[in-house]
Amino acid sequence: MRLSKTDLVFLALAVIGGAVCLWQGGLPLVGAGFAEAGWLLMIVLPQLAAGLLMGGLISRLVSRDKVAALLGTQSGMRGLLLASAAGAITPGGPFTSFPIVHALWVAGADAGALIAYLTAWALIGLNRLIVWELPLMGAEFTLIRTLACLPLPIVAGLIARALVRLPFFTMRKAPAE
């Protein structure tokens, strides 16, 4: 297995992060970083496997034409609403949602829909709301925050659709299936 350019970027980031830890807190802090990473990885790996499988299975179930029609550049407001609703009901952490986003991207969804999906998952995801926010922060806080965040996935999707026309943000073509 050879290292790609992106792998090297992450290797550099890990080395820099480790060096900053060493400088700030010596070896114990570096150890704490390694422990945290190992623990995270153990939690993440099974869920990542589930996410990758979901992505693969979804790409078999939905045809490219259908996704492009429902969530593509021409899908308009309906596409953004649909993507937001899908994001809100996607369970699991980033290790499940990002593989699904990748599968939708390959299947023909546009940047606006993908960003509406991710924003909805991050802001109004039902799973996180029920498991973490409601028990920890209480019903009143959860209600106010959820209401305040409800329109935001659409806003982010619309802004993304406007931005993606600028040369700097032009998306590279989705990788072939």
Binding site: E36, G56, R60, A122, F141, R145
Partner: protein, 166 residues
């Protein structure tokens, strides 16, 4: 944690059943191969990314900023809280307890809404560990810029909602 895993794997099983019914063994194999392909790409990247994010968690100070995001801090407090949220590391199992501590430490409710929104949409460690490795830096940049105003909007909307109900 366990309930979430059960839900997730139930969905995987249901999807597999649907694919198996429609396309049989070849469909399942193709789905598995696609998953494996993507997993192979992440095999080196993801552990490195998670390690980098974990180091980040160790060195960022969070609680020193609480005095600046009180209930009377208004828009500037909302903005500071949004930025704090963006660099707040960890998943919901660490960030919600931190948010709770900050709220009880005297921060305002709209400010905490902005903080959680900032954490939800910016989450630098998540960009580093998952988004950039899977979707690429350009997509991550586009999403971050498109999300810039969201924490401010959420904080202001929350302030409006509180004023309405008060």
């Amino acid at each position: 944690m366990i309930a979430a895993a059960v839900v997730i794997w139930t969905i995987v099983a249901a999807l597999a059943l649907a694919v198996g019914r429609k396309q049989g063994r070849p469909g399942l194999r193709a789905a598995g191969e696609m998953a494996l392909d993507q997993g192979r790409g992440l095999a080196i990247r993801l552990p490195l990314a998670i390690l980098a994010a974990s180091f980040l968690i160790q060195v960022l100070p969070v609680d020193a900023l609480v005095p600046y995001i009180g209930p009377q801090s208004g828009v500037s407090g909302i903005l500071i809280a949004a930025v704090m949220g963006g660099v707040l590391p960890g998943g919901p199992m660490t960030s919600f307890p931190i948010a709770l501590v900050i709220l009880q430490g005297g921060a305002g409710l709209p400010q905490i809404v902005a903080l959680i929104t900032g954490w939800s949409v910016f989450a630098l460690h998540r960009v580093l560990a998952y988004e950039a490795p899977i979707m690429g830096w350009r997509f991550a940049a586009l999403r971050l810029v498109a999300s810039l105003i969201l924490p401010l909007a959420a904080g202001l909307l929350a302030q409006g909602l509180i004023a309405l109900t008060a």
